[in-house]
């Protein structure tokens, strides 16, 4: 029996209460991330991947609510039942996050250095000189000049801000890093740099990571395993090469197919017809059925379960799990 997964999510349900009803952003999601593993969490906008990431840190705010599920960290910390003070101490030390749109993650009226220092001082007491040194080291680790600690966020370029945010996320040497679309808002060249930086950090610090994105190409490069989410549920989980080489879920197939059009000159651009369901009114049966070319009668009657297929793979599809 090997070491427990760094995080084990089971049966997670997160809903948002809107005027039109209950929006089920995350509807029974289970996933595990092994220690030292990079798990990619991919899907279209609105599929619930960001929400899942936030839920792991219990950062779901009203009108959202974690309705159900268990999140166990490192085999012994039950995240959802932590008290306020325990939760505060758990955050950033064990798990930290790089948020979507990191540009806005920084307080515009505080220097970058002081914000990184704040992450540390919220958990430990340290002398000012020591603090300065630690902040300097963190900045250098992400390829920034330590002297920039006294500058304000608006004085940095997008890429630099992203690096600063990553430095901040690593301030307390967390075991798990959740990165939510860390490269989306950046231009292509900088994207490459940040990606390389993250790969480098992960290797050096043996970080476990959950990399949330809709960019399947980036994931193919450096994740160990990929989970594909659709409309609040997990459609398929597989080691990266398996997923990209032989996708089993029709949705995954469709996603990859639409990618090929861009990569192959002359090939027609294609995308999966239709649109994801309204999360406040999910139809009966498989939620991908309206867009699936292989749908048959069972698909309209019951929602497929996420069941293991071969080693390390699981799929939620009636076609596969006959």
């Amino acid at each position: 029996m090997s070491a427990p997964p760094i995080v084990n999510v089971s049966g997670l349900r997160v809903s948002f209460w809107a005027r039109r009803g209950e929006v089920k952003a995350v509807d029974d999601v289970s996933l595990q991330v092994k220690k030292g593993e990079i798990m990619g969490l991919a899907g279209e906008s609105g599929c619930g991947k960001s929400t899942t990431g936030l839920a792991i840190m219990r950062l779901i705010k009203p009108p959202g609510e974690i309705k159900d599920g268990r999140i166990v960290f490192d085999g012994n910390i039950d995240v959802l039942s932590l008290g306020d003070e325990e939760l505060r101490s758990f955050r950033w030390r064990k798990v930290s996050m790089v948020f979507q749109g990191a540009m806005n993650s920084l307080n515009p009226v505080m220097t970058v250095g002081s914000q990184i220092a704040e992450a540390i001082s919220a958990h430990e007491s340290a002398r000012e000189e020591d603090m300065e040194e630690r902040v300097a080291k963190l900045l250098e680790q992400v390829g920034m000049d330590a002297s920039r600690a006294k500058d304000y966020p608006h004085e940095f370029s997008g890429g630099m801000r992203q690096r600063a945010v990553i430095a901040m996320a690593l301030a307390l040497n967390p075991e798990l890093l959740i990165a939510d679309e860390p490269t989306t808002a950046l231009d292509v060249v900088v994207q490459r740099q940040i990606l390389d930086l993250m790969i480098d950090m992960q290797r050096r610090l043996n970080l476990s990571m959950i990399f949330i994105t809709h960019d399947l190409v980036a994931l193919s490069e450096f994740s160990d395993k990929v989970s594909i989410m659709y409309a609040g549920r997990i459609a398929e989980v597989a080691p990266t090469s398996d997923l990209y080489g032989s996708p089993l879920h029709p949705y995954t197939q469709g996603l990859l197919e639409s990618l090929q059009g861009i990569a192959t000159p002359g090939k027609k651009l294609w995308s999966i017809p239709g649109a994801p369901p309204d999360l406040a009114a999910i139809p009966k049966g498989c939620r991908f059925r309206p867009r699936c070319r292989y749908a048959f009668d069972r698909c309209a009657a019951e929602e497929p379960e996420l069941l293991p297929v071969k080693d390390g793979r699981s799929v939620a599809c009636h076609l596969v799990n006959k």
């Binding site: 806005n104 993650s105 307080n107 009226v109």
Partner: protein, 328 residues
């Protein structure tokens, strides 16, 4: 972040505005029905020699261009600015009256501005953080109520309660009428404070509401920003988030509001001084206008304009210092 260039340009701007104001103060009374010259000797029974001196100094029997030149010379180029003798309070000069009244108004406005700002910001912060609670509902309703109430009426109610029924506090004058003080002695200061409580309280109660509501709105908006979520994720304590992150950002637009409301507070002090017979510039101005005391009117507006423009300039510069994103 502030540069010398910004400081210089703002100050220059303020000076220009001030000079324009001074010119307007000259022009406007002469546009109104009943010119200064007519009001003269007959109505106010000023002694002959005084009349002659005034006519000479201000050129009141000369063409308007000469009057203007003399005016500028007396007002802007001499110190202390010479507005002549007050019609109603002669032989007291306008300047001496202003000098006596100004400190009282500054005391009133200064104290209540600070209190208002503190009260408004703190209440706004609290009502944003405890949004949805009974406390917040209470604060918001009280603020809304205060915005609908004429605050001279608030003054009257306070007088009724504390001055008439309870007889705890005085409601007239700045110091006890019969007392004689030498300089800034402790008894003097205590008396000033004693007489100042109700006026300052009134002005503060009447002004805090809009600050509270704006601060609350700003806080709520700021609390929705991403960096607040980041701070919480980092494990920063709730109180620190509220003060160091949210309030620090939310308070900035409140400062602009402050700049805009200086004029309002001046008006407020006029009403307050009237209710409490407090001998400040407001009361002086009111008496001057209704008594058609032209020199005093000019002098009072001069001082008012100066105060408003100066405080606007100070607030402007303060804001620039506080917000690191602004660069000039």
């Amino acid at each position: 972040m502030i540069t010398a260039r910004y400081l210089v340009s703002r100050t220059f701007n303020a000076l220009v505005t001030f000079v324009i104001a001074v010119v307007l103060i000259f022009i406007i009374p002469r546009l109104m029905p009943g010119s200064p010259t007519d009001q003269f000797a007959s109505q106010y029974r000023l002694p002959g020699p005084v009349v002659a001196e005034l006519k000479a100094k201000f050129g009141l029997d000369q063409p308007i261009e000469t009057q203007f030149v003399l005016y500028i010379k007396n007002v802007l180029l001499t110190f202390p600015p010479d507005f002549g003798v007050s019609y109603n309070f002669n032989p007291a000069t306008v300047w001496s009256l202003l000098v006596y009244a100004l400190p009282w108004t500054i005391f009133l406005l200064g104290t209540s501005s600070i209190l208002t700002a503190i009260l408004g910001v703190v209440l706004g912060m609290i009502s944003a953080w405890y949004r949805g609670s009974k406390l917040e509902a209470f604060i918001s309703s009280s603020s809304m109520l205060m915005l609908s109430v004429p605050f001279f009426w608030v003054a009257m109610i306070l007088v009724l309660i504390f001055g008439v029924f309870l007889r705890w506090l005085p409601f007239s004058g700045a110091v006890s009428p019969s007392a004689v003080y030498r300089g800034f002695s402790i008894p003097f200061l205590l008396d000033v404070l004693y007489h100042g409580i109700l006026p300052v309280l009134t002005l503060t109660i009447g002004s805090f509401a809009s600050y509270t509501l704006i601060m609350k709105d700003n806080m709520v908006a700021t609390l929705g920003e991403d960096y607040i979520l980041t701070a919480e994720a980092k494990g920063v304590k709730k109180e620190d988030i509220m003060v160091k992150h949210a309030a620090r950002n939310a308070v900035l637009p409140v400062m602009t509001l402050f700049v805009l409301r200086v004029g309002f507070m001046v008006g407020g002090s006029i009403l307050t001084e009237t209710v409490f017979s407090y001998p400040g510039i407001g009361l002086l101005l009111y008496g001057a206008v209704t008594g058609l005391d032209y020199p005093l009117i000019q002098g009072a507006f001069f001082v008012l304009a100066f105060t408003v423009i100066l405080s606007t300039l100070v607030a402007d510069i303060l804001y620039t210092i506080l917000d690191p994103r602004i660069r000039y």
